[in-house]
Symmetry: C3
Subunit: 137 residues, 3 copies
């Protein structure tokens, strides 16, 4: 039983940007040499989320519009009165969730046929970090 850690830095140029990170996570699993266990992916910033879904442009746009509908980016949050104006993106990060834990079996990530791992940057413009921790045999 062993562990392996990989920090992934994402160069976010825009405020809002979606990163398809399945290959980065798959690469980390390969480097770890772990063929059976868990991989846990966690954001290290609150204005971001990790989610798993099918890789379809229309669907990803639906997800983005849904986040904005349920947790609109507005100016009138309490947070904005004393601090930053990005409370809406904090709420969107809570809605998506800040991490995911997945199974590794037979050396492969168990995602299912169509699912992919996405990192959603909700308030970017600077480098952001994600940690992947792999634990298993």
């Amino acid at each position: 039983m062993t562990t392996y850690t990989e920090h992934i830095t994402l160069q976010t140029d825009k405020r809002r940007e979606l990163f398809y990170i399945t290959p980065r996570i798959g690469g980390a699993i390969q480097k770890s040499g772990i063929t059976d266990g868990l991989v846990m992916i966690s954001v290290l910033h609150s204005n971001a989320g990790v989610f798993i879904n099918d890789d379809n442009p229309g669907l990803l746009r639906d997800i983005d519009e849904w986040l904005e509908k349920l947790a609109p980016v507005r100016d009138d949050y309490h947070y904005g009165s004393t601090h930053e104006s990005n409370a809406g993106t904090h709420l969107q990060g809570l809605l998506l969730g800040g991490g995911a834990t997945l199974a590794i079996t037979g050396g492969k990530l168990e995602l299912g046929a169509w699912r992919q791992i996405f990192y959603a940057e909700l308030d970017g413009g600077r480098p952001k970090r994600v940690v992947a921790k792999i634990i298993g045999v």
Copy 2:
């Protein structure tokens, strides 16, 4: 320290169906021989969710209606214009979350007094799969 994997196939006959899977997860823990560690349960399809709550018919109906209120199954999502018409169930799956990680202590699943594990099929009609990965001593 060891790992144990169980794939559970759910025969979903209806579009929308709720499965009470606590006994299946408990059985997998027993078979694993692991008495202290973690069990991670993950859907392998995007139109589904795993959630933990009390097993009460009224409450489960409230949860179902709440999903439909916050992420309605409608025809006018972007996804539907080029692909499948089930974008709403993808959003409901995101809302519930596609997995859960729980503690195993003294050979038992730590759920609390009333909580149970549910698999929510949101767009069924064919066999669906869930993976449970157990890791510990």
Copy 3:
């Protein structure tokens, strides 16, 4: 590779109360002697959630109001007709999520610069419990 378990009891006096539990989780990691691995935190009641976000009073108030907006505590849920009147707090617990899994690297919890771990009691007034399970080397 080893495991360590800590049960944390929270004395909730009010119905709704927020607990800043980062120091308790950090203390459990230190006691465990585990310097690389995972910590999984899980509620043991459905009317509660664990979430991670920045520790700012305005932001925490925004989160509380957002929970109430998306999952209002009302009297007309199905659950209330036969059982308890707290279905809204069950939905808020689902929205926040009942647990979190985080990385431990170099003996430290990987949260990022500003993020803290919070336990949100949504229907308190009696002692409530959380379990932290640590697994690693």
